[in-house]
Symmetry: D3
């Protein structure tokens, strides 16, 4: 299947390079994600390494927040979703799709271009079949509910089993909630509706999109927890993950101190007020960080 | 209890035939549900057969959507409810009740008429005590929260145990959420509030009502899943249920194919693109339909 | 035109007496508005006298509020409308129409009944052509915007010029806002949309309806000001109008006192605290009431 | 820790008596809660006895509603929260904190006063460290989401383990939802956000506040169930709890009767219509009340 | 100024052809608006002729609605705006701009590209200075209020006087409402806020965008009335304008008939029921159309 | 009247100093507004001089925004009001009143204290009668509509004529909209309702309150335009007013340049790009500032 996926991507590229509305050329992709420190996919999309993705599974939204705004990235978080499995983390690489309300004249051009590339019609499965394992399908359906259902349980099953996707984030809807709920893949959506996807048109695949107040670039690390979804630029992933180790250790130590029952909260948290305690904490931090780094060498 | 129910219905009829505001005569009921292909209750309300109700238990909102809009029924679905037991299907026959905001002058007439028929006061239990086993109480309380609580846990218990109702749909509220949550009966409501039902008046029993954007007729088959509620006209129930068999088989086959790992989603879904595959699917469909029809003769 | 109106009403009556869903028989109308102290139209609808309607033109929502809740009528006020001419009062007799979302099976029965009565199709103009001069068309379109446009500028023109209606209140929409804005007739609506009326069905003419949280009976005195709309039961109109005279005099006196610049607000308003002032006020009230009653004998 | 808590309270009092914006003097507290029939904390806050708190654990919102509005307390209920553990009751004594949007000039005064009392800065932990075991932290953060996060999982842990608080109600947000969800303490909040508490200022500790439409006094008994939160004035707690016994018995008897299958709902509920049944019920009530009172002497 | 405008456009083109994220090449523009029957601007954008724009000034939203959905264009209308001058029509050619929430990494690339083309920074005035006389600035600011203020009164003045723009439509905000209100240019916006444009980034100029549920292409004829805004594809403008003549004549005739006072609304409207009247209308229509066509030759 | 006002204030003070819930002592007022550079009223409230108030009449929200956030005051603006006279500026000194939902036990204490001070009952007129000429009544009624009507037309008349108030801002409602609309005084409110003020209780007079997201201190300069309301700390008024002169001159010069028709917007605005133009602007600014300062010496 991977082979077929690559073949299809190859087929698509020339179309899009003539019809820049729908995707970026590899050069554009590289240019717009220039800060990416990692490898890239064939189409130029940043590929955050699997090992970092694995470590990111321990992150919470708060640990991302601890880093991103301070680096000037204040618009990378979206919430207000229905979360399919609040107890499961969503972690993967962003594959973005942009829809707009259907316009017959635009639709005609889009489908003519698609046809010229051997795709009978430009629709949601064209995007789905381009996904790479570990991708999160991130879809801007401008909040559409009726007719804005990106997948039902069959395509959800395919996403999970066939495309080996890591999950789904859609500023729009899904259908077949009962069926979808039985599957393990994390999903974030605005609404559920029994209608199928209709009255919309794909206007971009792997282009910058916004989901609520967050701007998403193809290749961003997508992190969803029970609160919402963070889109982390590849250049900041390492820093976020490393800093989270410190946060975890700080939490460990803080609660241990609280468990001793000798302190008021203000004496310990945010940081120990007493110089002795402060030193104790710093030693603890250093020791634990070493343990973690040993277990988890980079 | 059934005997008493019938007796009460008998008592009520003459009242209502003088006071048509509140219900339909049997003739009116038959006329307004003329397309009903099934038996009827004594008051003319369509009675979708138990066997079909049983088969409908396997339906999802999507499978109803696959039939109704195509038949011109585009306003039969309501959502935006709090669903008491999202994992349980609601299936039963619609028993409708319409409320309006209390008006003392209208209230006086309504209660005078009720009294003349031996009912001390026209209130929610008059309607509840007219329910037949397998009915779903469908109530238009115009979205009222405070004072719009159709039942608390005692009447909910009675609905379930005494009236053998199949469930509750209310464009309004319930009370005693903790108590209600422990009972098995499916229920769909807009809100929860500790107040009791007040400042409203019954203006119709088993008349056409609307719940959100859906028009509900007495005797409609009510189908609720984790997404929302469909009100299916009796004349379309058989078609919906039969078509759902096809949908189920299509899902089975589609996922089997996806499990083989040889296909992109677009090659298989919505329908197989390859003529060979298409033929394979059609044979599978035929065989499985026969199996199902054998197991489930009509 | 009046002649035709009466003829049409005659034609309609027998239909509806067989099809009670859509209107009340004269007997029902009389029964449900039994407290009406005034004359009635041929169909039994209360007819608040023209002289009282004229006096009601001076009312504000606050002056109605001063009487109705105290008489147990707490649900007669609706607001949240776009008001076409906030500087113009709306005063007239309620002619009610109820719509529900379209259902083809119900639609078929409704239109068959209509046809049997010589009306080709049951639609908004059937209701509009039944209006009497001085009526306010009060329409429950359940808040529908797209497709819920009761009139555009042509029918609005007809309402005003042809039907000599006093105004329009719709829990729904209108179209042709530019055109409508140039006409003098007061109108209250939830929204404006370019679509025409569609996907709905008339389910009642001159039946009880609710507009927001207010229950409206045919024949209610409709009073709209820049804030919202009151639906006043005929039996309370005289009391509201008389009490408003007292309110007006009280306002006159209060402001005169404030103009003297000798008093704090608490000394004068709600009622004078000083016994001397209280006596002064009571004499003023008596004198002014006599003047008004002389000018405006009942 | 308790000792430290008291010491801190002592330190704070003189500050606040010079800076009445932030708390009440003991005299004021006693005056504003004059109807409290129970003991008080050192600062004058009413202390509903532990035994009553224990009995209150069986209450539902409906059982409080059955008493409070009838006593003139119509504004003691708030809902619309996200409930952390809907299946757990929240019961405890109200400790109130009021925030307002940050204003640097006011902030300067507040912190100068705090500093003079030996508190480096006035922030959420100053309030948290004043809590007594069994308190519910009730916080007016005026619905703020971003920056309105009263606690994350570390302070939540401290509230539960260190302060032995009974729970949290905040008209604002929390952070670290994943972490918080694993802890047992009940919590009611409007939203979740990854930001930390910022851009706000404490303007009152243990002063009257309002949460939605409910006015909360320090020392109120806070009762939360799956629907919402009631703030019960101490003077009414006994009456609420006693009346709830009657409600429970009434429910028991009603359902027993319904289980017999011989009655329509209207014959039994709200109260038995048949004099024989009524007598039967009254005897049952008397007997069961005696049993309960014996088990649970006051 | 025109000269400078052209010069600047020349400068920009090469930049954008390397950085296709922000605009379309001329070839793309022509391809995506292939159905345009009119001339084009130098950059390929359709140029609806001035004469048609003049005639479109008489259109209302309803007259556009009468044509577009029937041609399959169901998503060309947006409403819910604050309308600056409801009594003035907005008519002009769409110049589209798309913003997204600021992302520093993307911002860096955008500005580097801009700099390479001699533009110090990519911001709202770059777009404004590309406008042609008669253009309507149509801006997707994703509904942003705080920081989403596309112009204040100075730039609004420039748009009107310097750029000779026909108006402004923004799914976002403006500032300086008092100042703007004194100017004549029509404007449609979601909100007003005193902040300046901040925390956003331009991601497209003259690309397809959506405003609410309408997809807008560069060169669309923008028509705003007191209700909302229509974006009319150039290929349909002639048909809309011609059909509006028929609508106007139909309105004229209908009201004349209503003025005669002999007809019920249903007899005349939508179309005359009586064959004689129908013929009368058709002759009137023919005669009036000829008069109009004479006055307004194409 | 002034005499009486002072007498009443004298009477009130001792009450409140025993019952700090409702107001600040003079010492507290001075402490909490320590940065005030101006005179104070007898109760310590800052008194921005009349001359500055006069100059502030020329301000817009944008000109306040140009100064406040930069000084750390980011929460001083509230919008979302219905504005009675959008074309009139509101300028005056804040007199704050805080309400909470009624609680009988608290109400009893409040009224007992009031009675002890010779005030029969604590209600809205007690606050109104404490206003000083030029005050703006700023009321926190927590958004209440029904029952949250701070004034009707009589008290509005008194505010304007008797109390010589500068205007009204209420996070709540007013009544008698028709009557109020005829009066000149600016007013900002959330809603209009025919009910009178009820089910609430005064919990503070001239204490810090918040209106939406703005924290208001007694004595703040209140500035309302057609967009919303700014609450300006006295210490910043001079700077805001002075800076606005610069803004006005900048606007003058910018538009003059735009009128010349030789420049693109980016060449002139925000600041002139060409060094020559920049110099020209600076000289213009200097000259005009001198003219203004001469006309308007401080």
């Amino acid at each position: 299947m991977a082979a077929l996926g690559i073949a299809m991507a190859t087929v698509l590229t020339p179309v899009f390079s003539d019809a820049q509305l729908f995707t970026l050329t590899k050069e554009q992709m590289v240019s717009y994600t220039a800060q990416n420190p990692f490898e890239r996919f064939a189409d130029g999309r940043p590929k955050v390494p699997d090992a970092l993705i694995e470590r990111a599974r321990g992150l919470s939204a708060e640990e991302v927040f601890a880093v991103l705004p301070g680096q000037g990235f204040r618009n990378q978080y979206a919430d207000g979703f229905r979360v399919l499995h609040p107890e499961k983390k969503l972690v993967g690489r962003a594959f973005t799709v942009q829809f707009m309300p259907l316009r017959p004249d635009l639709d005609e051009v889009v489908n003519a271009n698609a046809k010229a590339a051997g795709i009978p019609r430009m629709y949601n499965q064209v995007a789905i079949d381009m996904l790479q394992p570990g991708d999160v399908l991130v879809v801007d359906l401008f909040g559409q509910k009726d007719g804005g259902t990106i997948v039902g349980d069959n395509l959800f099953y395919y996403l999970m089993k066939g495309a080996k996707a890591a999950g789904l984030v859609v500023d729009g809807a899904v259908r077949d909630l009962d069926g979808i709920s039985e599957m393990e893949m994390p999903a974030y959506f605005r609404a559920v509706h029994p209608s199928y996807l209709t009255n919309v048109i794909i206007t971009g695949i792997n282009v910058p999109i916004h989901i609520g107040n967050a701007t998403v670039m193809p290749g961003d690390l997508v992190l969803g927890d029970s609160e919402g979804v963070y889109f982390i630029p590849p250049a900041l992933v390492q820093q976020v993950v490393d800093n989270a180790d410190v946060v975890h250790i700080h939490d460990e130590w803080t609660r241990k101190k609280f468990d001793e029952g000798k302190y008021k909260s203000a004496e310990i948290y945010g940081s120990p007020k007493d110089p002795e305690l402060k030193k104790e904490y710093e030693e603890y931090l250093k020791k634990r960080l070493e343990e973690i780094r040993k277990k988890n060498p980079q």
